[in-house]
């Protein structure tokens, strides 16, 4: 790796190293040590957050933000608790319905943001309320039924490797290739990087925005599906945590909220880093009620480190430009 590529990937490398260190500490403090069982539990929890973070990632990449990520996840999770109880063809159809729910929600967000020209923070706050309202209507209290064979296949391990890690690897490879080698993937970066220049280059801002939201919605659908695999139920109340954590995860992974910067590996590292911090807290002996405080503190610190670059800004007019 040359010096230049090291320097350009610093935003990703720092969290990657932090993650590696924390993961080693975590395994060593865990009472049962390194085993397929421990890693599988950890990876399943991590995968939930990775998918949620991807839902946020695509929207942030085009310089938006999606406050409805949690609600989309909750709604698809609730749909899953109805749709994937059967087997055979109905199971496949059910999976499609769950993913389709996420996709449709994201697409609707995209339409509102891109065609309605409503700021994403307002638009997704509103649509998010609609989605979580629908979820609550469908399932007022947690419950439902999920095909347990499928759940076992999705949440155990293939040999020594947890299935969830295989899923994460697959999704990362697909997204990395898409973002790097297709005109569509590069357009996402282009629009987030400079809307004006992207438009002059002939990239359709509206189509790209809608596609980014739809893709994010699809990822939220995957997250909702996977939650039903892990918990075997549907729960309409899980939304808010996922929205916040999805933003925290991508920021930790070096994705700029200003758009156009960051990659899929960063998303994974950020999500797993956040999950590992939470897991470490669990075994740290801190009183449970104090744990959110320390989680928040670590997050605040990480974000502050990310904006240290501002100290190098030499023109006062540019301080608040982004």
């Amino acid at each position: 790796m040359t010096f230049d590529s090291l320097r350009r990937n610093l935003r990703f490398l720092i969290p990657a190293v932090a993650f590696a260190v924390l993961f080693v500490i975590y395994i060593n403090t865990h009472p049962r040590g390194f085993s397929t069982y421990v890693v599988t539990i950890w990876a399943n929890q991590g995968a939930l957050l990775v998918f949620a973070a991807f839902a946020q990632f695509f929207v942030v990449l085009v310089r938006g933000i999606d406050l409805s990520v949690g609600a989309m996840i909750a709604l698809s999770n609730v749909v899953a608790s109805y749709a994937i109880a059967g087997d055979g063809a109905s199971l496949w159809f059910g999976i499609l319905a769950v993913l389709g729910t996420g996709l449709a929600c994201g697409f609707a967000n995209g339409l509102v943001v891109a065609l309605g020209r409503i700021p994403p923070i307002v638009a997704t706050l509103a649509t998010g309320a609609v989605y979580s309202g629908s979820a609550l209507f469908l399932r007022p209290t947690p419950g439902g039924d999920v095909n347990s064979d499928l759940s076992d296949a999705m949440t155990y391990a293939i040999g020594p490797v947890p299935t969830s890690l295989v899923l994460i690897a697959a999704i990362v490879v697909v997204f990395a290739v898409m973002l790097r080698y297709t005109a569509f993937g590069l357009s996402l970066y282009g629009v987030g990087s400079s809307e004006h220049s992207a438009a002059l280059t002939g990239i359709s801002l509206i189509k790209t925005r809608i596609a980014a939201h739809a893709l994010g919605g699809l990822c939220a659908g995957v997250a909702g599906f996977y939650i039903s695999m892990v918990t075997l139920t549907g729960d309409a109340g899980i939304g808010p945590t996922y929205t916040l954590n999805s933003i925290a995860a991508i920021v930790l992974g070096g994705i700029s909220l200003g758009g156009g910067i960051g990659g899929p590996f960063g998303v994974v590292v950020g999500a797993l880093l956040l999950k590992t911090v939470a897991a470490l807290m669990f075994f740290s002996g801190l009183p449970p009620l104090a744990q959110p405080f320390f989680e928040g503190l670590i997050l605040a610190l990480a974000i502050t480190l990310g904006s240290l670059g501002l100290l190098r800004v030499r023109n006062r007019l540019k301080l608040f430009a982004q």
Binding site: T182, S197, G202
Partner: protein, 511 residues
């Protein structure tokens, strides 16, 4: 090269933005295999014309014909698919993407959705062709200098295989060697049958390149003629529409060298944009800062006013050192500096607020909001606006409702209301109509007569020549040359701005 068929024709084209008419009933055509220069002042409608051709905007009325067929562009991609490609003055590169991706995305060649390797090879070839072999395809654009970005922008235009190539101030940041290389490629393109529309403010570039010249003024197409058919003075007269004597106020008496300077800048350096800048401005003087864009002249004024951090060197006001500069301290009564920024819409004022509120903003924290009677202040504002002949409905109207020239008047009077001793202006007449220009020139001249020290940064050579007592020409962050008196001619300004040492003596180029 003599393919004279009309490639593109405009007839009856009008473009309005709200109450502002950018183009009025324009008829224009250009032929394949020619280099066609478009001349006109800022605000003459050149950029609007280019944007129409590039499919960025659609005309309010009129028809565009390509090869004789009427055509409507859905967007820049659509225009580019028809072979109409524009290299935009404001640059259209996406900073976080690599050079290669920026170029390839302008005409994506893909198989099954994946971009082809051949696209990147073509991009490489385009860069090499214009002598930009040193720019790596995998370098992110935000790491490039302005000149390098301009080369990438040109390569990006070439990559789209244009039939009509529009170069809008394409080479403003490039050194002489790079410009010559680009021009030779442009000539090759012409000989291969491409039509090139070329906008430049540098007359010698137009002379060396153009086959045909069209002059625009105030949104109208004034005249088209073969290059060389009209001399320099004639072209300037066509562009301005009135003689320069009417535009500029009569020359003022030079200020004696013995007068103590009001503003002194010593050894000023900042980041890698300013290097050891020294100059003095005496009361009653208009001191010009010239040079090509991006050579540091704008930064100097920002540094003096206290917008930049980490500036080294000293600034003295009225003989006293002025350290720890911030905008707040600069505008205080004891210092008395006013600063008219370059971009009036985003930096100069708050467009949605009313005229009076905008004028009050500059005074915030200065005269104590409660100490001055509202009516007194309002009368003061009105007198200033009247002096500038501002056309407005009510003082409560938002600034955004005014035309560009009138906005600039409000911006000027907002600062004059503070009675500054020294006024710093960044390109105050950019994009402003001729009449307002003349008014602003008269005002600046009057202010200088009244003993104010004025520093004027400008991209308009005529302005520097006719209005300023002395002009410092910047090159790569330092003052390459200070011109005054007989030496202050457009030719000398241009050669100093381009870093040429040979300065023509004499007045032959004086307009």
């Amino acid at each position: 090269m003599s393919n004279t068929s009309r490639l593109i024709e405009l007839s009856g084209i009008t473009k309005t933005y709200g109450p502002v008419t950018a183009l009025k009933n324009v008829d224009f055509s250009c032929a394949a295999g020619t280099i066609h220069a478009i001349l006109g002042e800022n605000g003459a409608g050149k950029s609007t014309l280019m944007k129409l051709l590039a499919g960025v905007i659609v005309p309010t009325a009129g028809e565009i014909r390509l090869d004789g067929n009427a055509i409507h562009f859905a967007g820049p991609r659509d225009a580019a698919d028809n072979g109409l490609v524009c290299m935009f003055q404001e640059l259209s590169l996406m900073p976080n993407l690599t050079v290669g991706n920026n170029i390839v995305l302008s005409r994506p060649q893909s198989r099954f959705g994946f971009l082809c390797r051949s696209g990147y090879q073509e991009a490489r070839a385009c860069l090499d062709r214009i002598g930009a072999g040193k720019i790596a395809l995998d370098c992110p654009v935000h790491e490039l200098t302005l000149a390098e970005r301009q080369l990438v922008e040109i390569a990006k235009a070439l990559y789209q295989k244009p039939r009509l190539l529009i170069l809008d101030e394409a080479t403003s940041a490039l050194g002489a060697d790079a410009v010559e290389k680009v021009f030779s490629v442009v000539r090759e393109l012409r000989d291969a049958g491409t039509c090139v529309l070329f906008i430049s403010h540098r007359f010698h570039e137009v002379h060396s390149l153009a086959d045909k010249i069209s002059v625009f003024r105030n949104g109208s197409h004034v005249q088209t003629f073969a290059a060389g058919a009209v001399d320099h003075d004639g072209i300037v007269a066509l562009m301005i529409g009135q003689s320069l004597e009417q535009l500029f106020p009569p020359p003022r008496k030079p200020i004696a060298e013995s007068v103590a300077p009001l503003l002194s800048v010593r050894d000023m350096s900042w980041a890698d944009e300013l290097k050891d800048v020294n100059f003095d401005v005496r009361p009653g003087e208009i001191y010009g800062l010239g040079g090509l864009e991006g050579h540091g002249q704008q930064r100097v004024l920002e540094a003096v006013f206290g917008v930049l951090r980490g500036v080294s060197g000293r600034v003295e006001i009225g003989g006293k050192p002025f350290g720890r500069r911030t905008p707040f301290r600069s505008k205080s009564e004891e210092i008395g500096i006013a600063f008219i920024p370059e971009d009036r819409k985003t930096e100069g004022m708050i467009p949605s607020m009313s005229i009076t509120d905008n004028m009050r903003l500059a005074g915030l924290g200065r005269d104590g909001l409660l100490t001055q009677d509202n009516q007194v202040r309002e009368a003061h504002y009105k007198a200033l606006l009247h002096r500038l002949d501002l056309v407005y409905g009510s003082l409560e109207d938002p600034v955004a409702s005014l035309s560009g020239g009138n906005q600039q008047k409000v911006l000027l009077s907002k600062w004059l209301a503070l009675n500054p001793r020294c006024i710093l202006l960044l390109d105050p007449t950019r994009g402003i109509d001729v009449k307002t220009k003349a008014q602003i020139y008269q005002l600046l001249s009057d202010l200088a007569e009244a003993g104010m020290a004025i520093v004027l940064q400008s991209t308009d050579y005529e302005e520097l020549v006719h209005l300023c007592d002395r002009v410092a020409v910047f090159y790569h962050g330092s003052i390459a040359r200070e011109l005054s008196g007989e030496m202050l001619t457009p030719t000398n300004l241009i050669s100093a701005a381009m870093g040429l040492s040979g300065i023509a003596h004499a007045t032959e180029a004086a307009a």
